[in-house]
Amino acid sequence: MFENRKLEILTLIGLFAFVVLFLIVSGQSGHEFSGSDDVGSQEIATLTGRPVASFTPLIPQYVPPSPEIESTLFALQATFGGVVVGLVIGYWLGQKKRINNA
């Protein structure tokens, strides 16, 4: 029964390996799991000898006032994508059903 599900199984194995890798890495000390952008900013600060805080936006921008609000906005972005995917897949499924019934 699993012959037709090779890709699904492979993807699950991949995701599982990813989680295990994360658990191993997070078990070691010294990892903050900050964004690679922040690590990159640190690197720029090191290269230029200027503190990170001295880099100010060239164009003023809205900054989410707290991590909570930021995560809400990111969740909103993903939700929007998810709604569109579900909508289209549903539309296609309905289309196919109509054609098959006709």
Binding site: L7, V25, S26, S36, L47, L58, A75
Partner: protein, 235 residues
């Protein structure tokens, strides 16, 4: 990373990105005028860029980054239209999330919406007419588009901040270690997920993929035959 690129570089990257956006908008208009049936597929490919670029995932380097999701779009709609979709996602993140900014938008477009997808498209062109399984092709395109995005980011930063000792190459190596190494496991996962999504798309809409010329009827049929065991007409 608004503020981290000197304005001269911001301008350079914006100027490179602009023509892609303009041609992309023109292509997008003519595509949708030709056939509205493409709109749902466009929505799905765009939606995966929205979803995947919102997910910041942990990686082996002990920092987090997000996949890009551009592989699907670039295969179905080619690089120009992908640039437009990528632009919309990046604009959203720059305006509301302070994730990137308006001045660095050009640089971010060149890496995520243009450069990564173009190299992914090159991989697609290379593998398209070979006997390689189309899911493997999708995997490679998505993973390559993802990882190249971050290689370009490293390059953009290295050009702006050459190291005192070793110059551009030395700082490229440093940024590469931060961005691209982090991205390796993420791009593998992205490749797997998008290959799976592609499988569901061709199960539902094989005619659309064929009409766009993404893969030939024979390739789609053999992939569907391998996954469902029934001929295309009965799927």
């Amino acid at each position: 990373m608004e503020g981290f690129l000197p304005w001269q570089w911001c301008l350079v990257w914006w100027l490179i990105a602009l023509p892609f956006i303009i041609v992309g908008v023109i292509e997008l208009r003519s595509l949708l005028r030709k056939d509205r049936e493409y709109l749902p597929l466009l929505g799905v490919s765009g939606a995966f860029i929205f979803i995947l670029s919102a997910l910041k995932l942990p990686s082996v380097t002990g920092s987090c980054s997000h996949p890009t999701g551009t592989g699907l779009s670039v295969m179905c709609f080619k690089p120009y239209i992908t640039a437009v979709i990528g632009f919309i996602v990046l604009l959203f993140q720059a305006l509301l999330l302070a994730h990137g900014g308006l001045s660095t938008l050009g640089a971010n477009m060149d890496s995520m919406a243009i450069g990564g997808p173009i190299v992914g498209y090159g991989v697609y062109k290379l593998l398209k007419n070979t006997s390689i399984n189309i899911y493997v092709t999708v995997f490679c395109v998505a993973a390559v588009a993802d990882i190249v995005t971050y290689i370009i980011t490293s390059f953009e930063l290295a050009l702006a901040y050459p190291a005192a000792v070793g110059g551009v190459m030395a700082s490229f190596t440093a940024f590469f270690a931060i961005f691209a190494i982090t991205q390796i496991p993420l791009s593998i996962i992205e490749g797997l997920v998008l290959a799976l999504v592609f499988k569901y798309i061709i199960q539902l809409k094989p005619d659309l993929i064929e009409k766009l010329g993404v893969f030939s009827k024979k390739q789609i049929e053999s992939a569907l035959g391998a996954t469902t065991g029934v001929p295309l007409e009965k799927v």
